[in-house]
């Protein structure tokens, strides 16, 4: 899916599938209200400042921390791999699949694995792959990508899920949400117990202790990382935290930002494979440290602010643009505000065009971001760079030049003002493309009978009273 098609896809979705807009709006507003309440009852401002500072420090010394993490992980008995992009990750996974004769893999929600096309790769190796997060499971059944970082299936209504489960799992057409969840649980329980491989992402990786930290509400991540013989954690290199103690704020801030909870229902702190005296847990734990565009973003001082992101989804929930469609029209793994600035940072502004224009710059995202990523400022930066690189609509530069000429010459401005009144219907036209973009869904604009700068001549000498 080309990102370029965002405007068309968004328009089609809004006009043809109004139920999506309704589901997404409802869910996002619900998340956002919970977030607002959860921020209000915690020292959110101090935490956000701290979290931003910790991540900025980490990124400024990232190479050292990566090496430290690697050393601790290795001491803990974890096998560490490095990957520049999807091919490296596929190679590592392929070797593990062969070495362990993996036939079945269970997956705990990981946005990074979406970036890397892990499912398709494993399936091509003959491995059955099961998404185990309920939302991910739903969209896997439906054959769709996630629509939201935290709630991948928020665009789906209960009715739609009922239909899907009835078709695929044989549940009754009027099954309750509990019954649907129970069907998914039963189906997946067997997979957990028989899978040889569990794949997860990581919310954090503590450099100081080599601890892989995962946060969730369902328990599927704990199961995926505890039951299969092998656990592979895919970790973006920006996911590190310097100190074990940093978790105290990050775990709370993440949960409060994402869903308004004081902490995720289940937090896994994984220090390696099963140890002596333990009765279960994986025999092998692998951590794959993944670049996939992140070092390019890091090299770009301004854009590198996106690397603080902890994928809480708060900016999506707060975003009035996102709320009209959910994530699908964006055509990128990450959607909404963070997607609009991650896409150009990871893919370049050409490929990401025009996602960074899909914003009114209303600023709601920056207000909620737990690590204070200045998303509107970054959107402006990308727009500027795109303009510099000539990534423009046809005629755009010429129009902007003409507009600038008129603005710096007040006489030209006033002439234009007169001209507009000489053709009073011009702004209501259905034929001029730019005007039509306005008038197709809105009534045309009517200028005031006389502009203020003319009225001023009449009132300038008025005295008070």
């Amino acid at each position: 899916m080309a990102l370029r098609d965002y405007p068309r896809r968004a328009a089609e979705l809004i006009e043809q599938r109004p139920e999506v807009r309704e589901s997404v709006t409802r869910a996002a507003l619900h998340f956002d209200r919970n977030r607002a309440r959860a921020y209000a009852e915690a020292p959110a401002e101090a935490w956000r400042t701290y979290a931003k500072g910790v991540k900025d420090h980490l990124l400024s010394r990232l190479a050292d921390y990566l090496e430290a993490a690697e050393a601790r992980l290795t001491e803990n008995g974890v096998r560490v791999h490095w990957a520049e992009g999807p091919e490296d990750v596929h190679r590592v996974l392929g070797e593990i699949v062969r070495a362990h004769g993996v036939r079945r893999a269970v997956k705990a929600k990981s946005m990074l694995s979406e970036e890397l096309g892990v499912n398709a790769f494993l399936e091509a190796q003959g491995v059955e792959v099961y998404e185990t997060d309920l939302g991910e499971f739903i969209i896997q059944l439906a054959g769709e990508p996630p629509s939201h970082i935290v709630g991948p299936a928020i665009h789906k209504s209960l009715a739609e899920i009922r239909r899907l489960f009835a078709e695929r799992l044989g549940t009754p057409p009027d099954a309750s949400p509990e019954a649907l969840a129970a069907a998914a649980r039963a189906f997946l329980r067997e997979k957990f117990l028989t899978a040889e491989l569990g794949i997860s992402g990581a919310n954090f990786l503590v450099a100081e202790t080599g601890t892989v930290v995962l946060v969730e509400n369902e328990g599927n991540i704990r199961l995926s990382t505890s039951l299969p013989r092998v656990h592979v954690a895919l970790v973006g290199i920006e996911k590190l935290l310097p100190r074990f103690e940093d978790l105290a704020v990050f775990l709370q801030l993440l949960a409060r930002a994402a869903t308004g909870q004081p902490i995720g229902t289940f937090v896994s702190l994984i220090d390696g494979p099963r140890r002596e005296g333990e009765t279960d847990g994986p025999e092998e734990v692998h951590v794959v440290l993944v670049d996939n565009g992140r070092t390019a973003a890091l090299a770009d001082l301004e854009a590198s602010e996106v690397l603080r992101c902890i994928r809480c989804g708060a900016c999506l929930n707060a975003c009035p643009v996102y709320r009209q469609t959910g994530g699908h029209p964006f055509g990128f793994v990450y959607s909404g505000p963070i997607g609009e600035v991650l896409a150009p940072a990871l893919l370049g502004p050409g490929e990401a065009y025009p996602l960074y224009h899909a914003s009114t710059l209303c600023g709601a995202c920056a207000e909620v971001c737990p690590v204070k990523i200045p998303i509107p400022k970054l959107l402006l930066t990308w727009r500027h760079r795109a303009a510099e690189e000539g990534l423009l609509l046809p005629m755009e530069k010429a129009m902007v030049r003409a507009y600038a000429e008129a603005v710096v010459r007040p006489r030209a401005y006033r002439l234009a003002s007169k001209a507009m009144r000489a053709f009073p219907g011009a702004l209501e036209s259905e034929r001029l493309p730019l005007v039509r973009a306005w008038t197709r869904l809105r009534s045309g604009l009517r200028p005031s009978p006389r502009p203020f700068h003319e009225l001023w001549e009449e009132i300038k000498d008025e005295r008070e009273g």
């Binding site: 409802r26 869910a27 500072g53 420090h57 990124l59 400024s60 990232l62 190479a63 990566l66 791999h81 490095w82 990957a83 520049e84 490296d88 939302g135 709630g151 299936a153 928020i154 789906k156 209960l158 949400p177 509990e178 969840a181 649980r185 329980r189 369902e218 328990g219 599927n220 704990r222 199961l223 505890s226 290199i237 310097p242 103690e245 105290a248 704020v249 775990l251 909870q261 004081p262 902490i263 229902t265 289940f266 937090v267 896994s268 994984i270 220090d271 494979p273 140890r275 005296g277 333990e278 009765t279 279960d280 847990g281 440290l289 670049d291 070092t295 390019a296 890091l298 090299a299 590198s304």
Partner: protein, 303 residues
Amino acid sequence: MSARDRVLYRVRRALTGRPEAALPAVIAPEERDPEEAFALFRTRLEAAGARVARLDSLEEARGFLAEAESGLQSAWAGAGVPEALRPRLPLAEPERARLGVSLALAGVAETGSVVLTAREGRRGQLLVPRHLVWLFAGDLFGSLLEALRRLRGGGVSALALHSGPSKSADIGQIMVKGVHGPGELWVGVLTFDSVGLEASDRSVNLEERLKGLTGRVLTTKENQTLTVVGLSKPGNTLYLALANGKKEGLPVKYVKKAVELIEAGISPQGPKELGEAVAKALGLKGPPKAGYLWAILHALGYV
């Protein structure tokens, strides 16, 4: 060049000339006294849909357990659960058990969490529909930061914080419990110390109980933390890891003697008195690592 070298090289090149950003100091959490901590712990867990009971005697604890067991056919229990608090139901593998009983390493009031160790067995914490977790009131921390400080480097493959029953709102924003993990979380906070457990536990082999302490993080009276690493193979020494990274071995015979003396009726007021009594009984010269001994006996419920 390997992928490792290339990624690290690119990171270094990306950061060339970039000044180091200062690392902020860790934020000191709000202080809470034990009463406040318990109140918050309960509020948080209950808000998350868990059941919390404060249990002031062994009878109460047994009652809570019986309630959790009622109507069920089988149970699973973690290795560290004291004998008196183990389920009476027939034991079963976690795949089939309807109830799981665990002993928490710690509790966190700020987040409403119990901290579980992989040493107890992870499946029993996850596959059962109902999960009962015992928490010694003395192991409840006011803040997550304090708990993390105590728990770090506990020598197990994984720790987990459980802060409520398994849940999901992925189906039309409707909250459903028990999606993958336990749909019920029961937390019993044990405020009574020692005597009750001791009385009922007399029959249990001391060695087994010491093994059961493996992975527990204890605090001495002087507020020093130590982690129980485990019992030596022949069972003569209990290894402890101190906060400063040092290892200590505590002869099991000291513990045995101390238990004997207490069961015989002495009631030492503190580590010093206990140490002196043990030293005298065993004919030792000085008091035998009395601080650690005290902490171990405390964990076993004797002092």
